[in-house]
């Protein structure tokens, strides 16, 4: 199985924490869905740096792999990664939460290069993604489609309609990554609406499934690099993550799903995030 080198992992850690710091700077405007952005950031970092066949200078390249953020509220992470990849200038990030900004609180395809499809209302991404994957078959193209769903989002019926359809149509160029951080707006997913066992549910719907630690870059990479897990089946990666990962006082706290912050809290938060990055880099060095 393919492995990432220590150097690769260090670079990915630096990339994901660079994005976390940029997200905090964006939040100087007062609020944002930081929890899901930070929980999904390591996954997005691997996807854009190591997996996706894409060209930031040519975002509509016909043969590109597609990425759709079905859980659109996590878009702080997507914006930061896209800027880091060079899709647009970093300064655009800092217009977040201002009038008519291209980086709105939910991503819009027409506002920003690199956004494949506008999302925000949960449960919309997977149906769209499955059709884009089916269109590849129709057009005899070999691009792949990757989708991030939330575990809270998995309560939406349309997710399961689409899951059934993807298996029925044997869409094996489609991969779903579930950012299972265990929290949603009002509390623990297990208490609000228990979506478990997600692995068994997707298997029962006809998908090939793997579970990974969603903050272990090597495991995320290995899973994503080996799709489709089974020919003729769509792939599902259930990634166990920590909501607000990287900001110690927000981690695994549902109140950081959408953080209303004071500008004065941001500098401290950036320092704490930098400290976390240092710890993670040290772990790799050892």
């Amino acid at each position: 199985m393919q492995q990432l080198s220590g150097k690769d992992i260090s670079e990915l850690i630096e990339s994901s924490y660079r994005c976390r710091k940029n997200i905090l700077k964006m939040m100087r405007q007062g609020e944002g869905h930081i929890g899901g952005a930070f929980s999904s950031l390591d996954i997005l970092t691997v996807i854009y740096n190591k997996i996706l066949r894409h060209d930031p200078k040519n975002p509509k390249w016909a043969d590109r792999d597609r990425f759709i953020l079905s859980a659109g509220h996590k878009c702080l992470a997507l914006y930061a990664v896209l800027a880091d990849q060079g899709y647009f200038k970093e300064e655009i990030l800092y217009t977040y939460n201002t009038f008519d900004t291209p980086v709105a609180m939910h991503p819009e395809e027409k506002r920003l290069p690199g956004i494949e499809f506008s999302t925000g209302s949960l449960g919309h991404g997977l149906p769209v993604a499955n059709a884009i994957a089916l269109a590849a078959r129709l057009d005899k193209k070999d691009y792949r489609v990757f989708v991030i769903l939330g575990d809270g989002e998995s309560a939406e019926g349309s997710v399961w309609e689409a899951a059934m359809a993807a298996a029925h149509h044997k869409t094996d160029n489609l991969t779903v990554i579930i950012d299972r951080n265990g929290l949603q707006v009002n509390g623990r997913t297990s208490e609000i609406m228990d979506s478990s066992p997600l692995e068994e549910k997707f298997k029962a719907f006809g998908w090939a499934v793997q579970t990974v630690d969603g903050h272990d870059f090597n495991r995320i990479y290995q899973a994503l690099a080996s799709v489709p897990f089974t020919r003729g089946k769509p792939s599902c990666i259930v990634a166990d993550t920590i909501k607000c990962k990287g900001l110690p006082f927000g981690e695994d706290n549902f109140q950081f799903h959408h953080w209303h912050c004071e500008a004065s809290e941001i500098d401290n938060a950036i320092n704490l995030v930098e400290g976390q990055m240092g710890k993670e880099l040290d772990k790799v060095a050892k």
């Binding site: 506008s118 149906p127 769209v128 059709a131 884009i132 089916l134 269109a135 129709l138 689409a162 059934m164």
Partner: protein
């Protein structure tokens, strides 16, 4: 065959309608889809277990690789249609009106209308098409909700040639289109050389006392009502307004300026339907006296098609009686 309607001769319409050819709208739409499929390889069919009764069977037979079945799951199917459209496909998605409009309304709003994607929604069995099935299947609010969406075009054809043309016209439009498809066989009003102009109504019969604006099945009934009215000395102008959105503002203003009175006729709720579309123009630009004939904000009872039309005052005689009362 030329147009059955002679605009210049009052009374001609009713005579010709009595002799008119009867056609199945779904068959004509199916013919058009098959032709479209031959002309444009991007045209695809998205089915919600709805091909056989919804103009998709022949398309499926001819182009099975472009026929996508998603079963009884309209939210997913609408999202799938949007996804295909992002890849340059022109999906025609079909299901009974309630399921293809209301069940997946948010997908239509967010995934079709907001990004202005070229998905064509075929609302099958509109109005009282299947009224015996009861109010779950008889949705009289489809125009109401579709009209509220930016970027949406709404077509409600009245006869075979117009259904046939609507499929081609919809495919040409850069954006989402909702096409209302009735089950009842229609009297052929237009000739085969008819060309539908989206956004343009047409005067089928000229008159001077009142303008009757109708769509779908009610065009034929309004024409027949105009003959009844003529016998009572009332000259009614009859307009087929097959594009409900965007509605033909110029024609509404021109005709209402002449007749000074307007009545709309629709096999649909009077809440935000064709009548409201016409009223939106009149109230702002030519506030003449107006009547809306349709279903008065209620869930309809059950019955066969003829019974329903009779009961809700939408037969030619019922329409004529309403107009007479309105003009009294």
């Amino acid at each position: 065959m030329q147009n059955n309607i002679d605009n210049k001769k009052a009374g001609a319409a009713a005579i010709n309608l009595q002799q008119a050819v009867i056609e199945d709208p779904r068959k004509r739409f199916s013919d058009a889809l098959v032709e479209l499929g031959a002309k444009n390889s991007n045209v695809i069919y998205v089915s919600c277990d709805s091909s056989l009764g919804a103009s998709g069977a022949e398309f499926n037979k001819r182009y099975p690789e472009r026929h996508f079945e998603f079963g009884i799951a309209e939210q997913n199917a609408m999202g799938e249609a949007a996804g295909f459209a992002t890849c340059g496909k022109i999906p025609f998605i079909a299901a009974y009106v309630p399921f293809v409009t209301l069940r997946c309304f948010e997908q239509i709003r967010d995934d079709l209308c907001k990004p202005k994607l070229s998905v064509k929604i075929m609302g099958n069995n509109c109005g009282f098409s299947v009224s015996a099935l009861g109010p779950t299947h008889t949705v009289l609010e489809d125009v109401s909700v579709m009209r509220s969406l930016p970027n949406m075009t709404i077509l409600s054809p009245c006869d075979g040639p117009e259904y046939y043309q609507a499929a081609f016209a919809a495919a040409e439009i850069d954006g989402p289109v909702y096409i209302r498809i009735h089950r009842t066989k229609t009297k052929k009003i237009h000739g085969d050389d008819f060309r539908l102009k989206v956004g343009r109504g047409e005067i089928l019969r000229e008159g001077t006392d009142i303008t009757l604006i109708a769509c779908s099945t009610m065009v034929a009934n309004a024409l027949e009502a105009s003959s009844i009215l003529e016998n009572k000395g009332i000259s009614a102008e009859v307009i087929n307004m097959s594009t409900i959105k965007p509605v033909d503002r110029e024609l509404i203003l021109a005709s209402s300026s002449k007749t000074k009175k307007v009545a709309t006729v629709e096999e649909h709720s009077i809440v935000n339907g064709l009548g409201t579309a016409v009223a939106d123009v009149l109230i702002k630009e030519n506030p003449v006296k107006m009547k809306m004939i349709g279903i008065n904000d209620l869930f309809a009872t059950v019955g066969d098609y003829g019974e329903m039309i009779e009961y809700y005052g939408l037969s030619p005689a019922g329409i004529a009686a309403s107009i007479e009362e309105f003009l009294r």
